[in-house]
């Protein structure tokens, strides 16, 4: 089966080298070594297929970010009610005195 098949695809070139531990750190995902290895293999297959975007022919295109071409939509700066604080905080894992509680963001001695 080649790239034309709609329901199956066999990669032709392998693999794209991925520093999977670095990517997982960027994504804030605490994965085990064996999980990382599994995802690395799968990403290689998917990226090999996705690399077909590089076969685009013709003149260089603009990048499209919004399908209808909207840019910089602003709303008027008016006061309006916000969500109820207690209702919002009721969903947080830990709160104190109307605040979210988080562990230290920086290391301390």
């Amino acid at each position: 089966m080649g790239t034309g098949g709609a329901v199956s695809y066999t990669p032709t070139t392998m693999p794209i080298d991925i520093d999977i531990a670095h990517v997982a750190r960027l994504a804030r995902l605490d994965l085990t070594a064996s999980e990382l290895e599994g995802y690395k293999t799968q990403l290689g297959v998917i990226l090999d297929h996705a690399a077909q975007v590089q076969s685009l022919e013709g003149d260089p295109q603009e990048e499209t970010f919004h399908p209808l071409g909207f840019v910089n939509v602003f709303r008027s700066d008016e006061r309006r009610p916000s969500l109820d604080r207690d209702e919002v905080l009721s969903q947080a894992p830990e709160t104190e005195d109307g605040y979210f509680v988080v562990p230290p963001a920086m290391e301390t001695d």
């Binding site: 089966m1 790239t3 034309g4 098949g5 709609a6 329901v7 199956s8 695809y9 991925i18 999977i20 670095h22 990517v23 997982a24 960027l26 994504a27 804030r28 995902l29 605490d30 994965l31 995802y39 799968q42 990403l43 297959v45 998917i46 990226l47 297929h49 996705a50 690399a51 077909q52 975007v53 590089q54 076969s55 685009l56 013709g58 260089p60 295109q61 990048e63 499209t64 970010f65 919004h66 399908p67 209808l68 909207f70 939509v73 709303r75 969500l83 109820d84 209702e87 919002v88 009721s90 969903q91 947080a92 894992p93 830990e94 979210f100 988080v102 562990p103 230290p104 963001a105 290391e107």
Partner: protein, 488 residues
Amino acid sequence: MLHEVTIAEAGKRLRTGEVSSSDLLDAALERASRTEAQLHAYLTIDRDGAREAALVADADLEDGIDHGPLHGIPVALKDNMCTRGVETTASSQILAGYIPPYDATVTRKLREAGAVIVGKTNLDEFAMGSSTENSAYGTSYNPWDISRVPGGSSGGSAAAVAVGSAFAALGSDTGGSIRQPASLTGVVGMKPTYGTVSRYGLIAFASSLDQIGPLSRSVEDAAITLEAIWGHDPLDATSYAGDYPKPSAALSNGVSGLKVGVVKELAGDGYEPAVESAVSAMVDGLSDAGATVVKVSLPTFDIALSAYYLIAPAEASANLARFDGIRYGHRGEGATTETLMARTRAEGFGPEVIRRVLLGTYALSAGYYDAFYGQAQKVRSAIQEDFVRAYQDVDVLVSPTSPTVAFEAGARVDDPLAMYLSDICTIPSNLAGHPAISIPIGLDTQNLPIGFQVMAPALGETIMFQVASAVENLADFAERPILEEVAS
């Protein structure tokens, strides 16, 4: 049977007093109690909230207050749309127990239209998938054959509409997640023009592609539901602020004089013969009904899937950064903010979500952006140009909705790429931001439904529905799934 009637028909009976909204709700809940054990279409059924809404709808009608075509109609919402006071999980463990403090705009609009919200339907986690097998709360099954998937990611909505445990449902469509499950379960599913239905309160997957739309038992019902939920919303910065068409008014206009383009690229290798022959018979039918049919080539469709699987994960990796264990949902253990977040996310996200977050993070990371994400956005421009060229010649484009009928549960779970290829016919419309609709046109030899896709240019809903209605009439698809009843 009352649970099988369309919204249009139920509305007539409501207004003659033949049935009440409470009767309609009873019919839907009765169907749920007979089918849920096998289908698992719903994650939450809000009996109390629905009952109260039905009583209000009945009292209003008695008082002469009529909120329009959805007044008193039981509908379901995909569980990635926020419902104040009712659990909303997006089928993820990371949002287990989450009770939104606000309604999504579509939820608010449905309530204002007098609709009765029956409950929240199952989906692939964060709408990432084509089978509902990625739900953290268990797979939904296809009512036509319960060993098969209902498609995805809006598989719960599709199954509920197919068996009558809702008269219509909302889904969200990022790469085909309304249309593909509609096709696999024999119902109508429609993705509107990007920006016409507010995404406020839709738990985001890929923001430049996500769009909410209806699943229903008829083309007219899809138009009725769409017209109730769309419109400009200042709470969504990508919302369309211009004039909106009125597709429900054009349903009976026929196809005489219209030009229909058959997409060459969406056929051939990988498409099941039963799907291809049903689609080509329908194309012949449109031609006999007075449409001019031509073959159209849109060469960039061949690389649309590749572009999609860079753009959607890239946007997902940014959108899902908000699930960090601080403000809502699951929290893992960690002595620092970073370790807490990393633990929370590894525990709370399922494998497909982790796979796409990693993929998107990689595609956006330093050194790879130009080769992957940037290049994918250029492909998107090229696809839009292909569409523009095609629409200079034709009014609508048609294709199968899915290359295959419903597949067996488990058949593609270990092969992500095979699963991704389920969406090959639906993805181009998402990348272009265009509307598209799937209409059931028949069954294959195993009694599994086949869907026909009609695509139209941005804001071309009127002509799209006009053609869809003609397709519906030609197909005359009246079959319903037969489920063996099991006690629940």
